[in-house]
Amino acid sequence: MQVRLLESPINKKDAQKRAHLFVREKYGTLPSVGTPKIQDNLWIIPINVKYPRVFLDSITNKPKKVRYMNFERVGEIKIDANNGDIVDKPRYWDIKSEIKAKLDFVQINVQKALVKTGAQNFAKLPFSEHMHTPIEDIISYLLLKDKIDLDIELAFLSDEEKEKYLKNIDLLITTGLIRKNDNLILPDNAFIEIEGSSDNISTKLSKALSYFFAQGYDNISSIQQVLGPYLTISGYIYGQSIEYEDIIPVEFSEIQTIIQQSYGQAIKQMKIPRYLIQLNEVGLLDQCSTSGEETWLPKIDVLRNVRMEESLLSPIRNMFIDSAARV
């Protein structure tokens, strides 16, 4: 006896087209659909994103290099194989936040690699210009007063401030700079090593910060609190050159946009030239003129070392797909 299996009313090609048109209609032109797979009478179609990055030649204003960041399975669509109904789909906001999370992942890993590699340079930034954070307060306190009695020193702080200091103390403990003995915070081995040098006190602080950056790079949000716009600007400029595997000059207007997006404060705009000059002074950025425009680019030696941070950069390198722009 010959058994004839009935073909699903909605075949693979139909399911893919239905999902494709749904994605275009609801999510826009950026996401695409992958290959449908059938499971329990449902077609499951992944939603993928190839996120284009176009580096325009500043003279011709044409693409010099196009690369696509590969974000796989930012969501999936389920289609009933019998009647073609879409039975499950992500919301637009789910797709948007997935894409943002992937983009943040790229930027954060570049920042981590930069902080780890350029720790000494960041630590040379003028102390008074650093953002005021508990990290520096704690290190400075220990340099001058040898120990912190938490019961006494944190007693008059608000709960919010107290929590902030305790969180940063925990972070400094993980780097080996300080240790905790009941309610006392004491210098740990690395701190003692730095303290024992013949440097002056501000150099010791700088060295302790450098050590903190190099050891604590993985906790980039805490380091962002210390370095603030310095890290935002340098991270963006190094990120461009890493993404495009080239030395990419960045125009001042682009940096303004990044600062505006990150801080949204007019006051920070006024400070951008100073940030750039200081990043140049500590050996993190170079300045050049491209087609009459002042542009900023990474220091080649630092960039070379950043690129060697394989453990941090290989996950994002895998996201990039090269494409020769045909112009």
Binding site: R24, L30, N48, K50, T60
Partner: protein, 198 residues
């Protein structure tokens, strides 16, 4: 109609031959804004408004801005333009002197429109074109075509961007050969739509 201002000749970089293309204005999109369809629509609308040699078409065609089109098309800067019947309805309602249509099409239909001095927007996948794998949807304005090549005003890759038709066919097919036709509406049609004709 003075053809000299509507049509110009461009030298194709592929084989150095000449092809006639429509003199459609060009706008470039930046790295991080997914406005290819918005800029493509603006190119076509500006062609009718500023370049077309028929005074009645120029007069009736609306002036528009990038920001207005972002609003009308409900484009999101992070994910691009949702492409649907709602998009076409929204454009037709906002700009009644033009007729917008979205459909699956082919080279011969586009050629017919070009011969009538109507540029056509095509939606295709540039990742297929360059990497032979599926990626985002991109839009460009077809301004000319010959047997071998299609010429696009491409918001990323530049004005009069030439692609071999056979290569473009794969990149276009994956987006189901969709095209957006934008044509000037006749005055009668505008009046009828507005309910002013009995």
């Amino acid at each position: 109609m003075t053809l000299s201002s509507l049509v110009m000749e461009t030298i194709l970089p592929v084989n150095g031959s000449r092809v006639k293309v429509l003199n459609v204005p060009y706008f470039i999109q930046s790295d991080t804004e997914w406005l290819c369809l918005v800029y493509s629509i603006k190119m076509v609308m500006d062609f009718y408004k500023n370049i077309h040699t028929k005074p009645e078409i120029r007069q009736r065609s609306p002036n528009t801005t990038r920001d207005e089109l972002i609003g009308v098309t409900r484009t999101k800067l992070t994910t691009g333009t949702p492409i649907s019947d709602d998009l076409i309805l929204s454009l037709n309602t906002k700009f009644p002197s033009l007729q917008f249509e979205l459909k699956e099409t082919n080279y011969s239909e586009i050629k017919q429109e070009l011969d009538r001095y109507n540029p056509v927007i095509v939606m295709y996948d540039p990742t297929i074109l360059f990497n032979n794998e599926e990626g985002p949807c991109h839009s460009g304005v077809v301004i000319g075509m010959n047997k071998q090549l299609i010429v696009l005003n491409n918001p990323w890759y530049g004005p009069a961007f030439c692609v071999e038709k056979t290569a473009f066919a794969d990149a276009w097919e994956i987006e189901y050969n969709r095209g957006m036709f934008i044509k000037p509406n006749s005055q009668q049609r505008i009046d009828a739509d507005a309910g002013t004709v009995a």
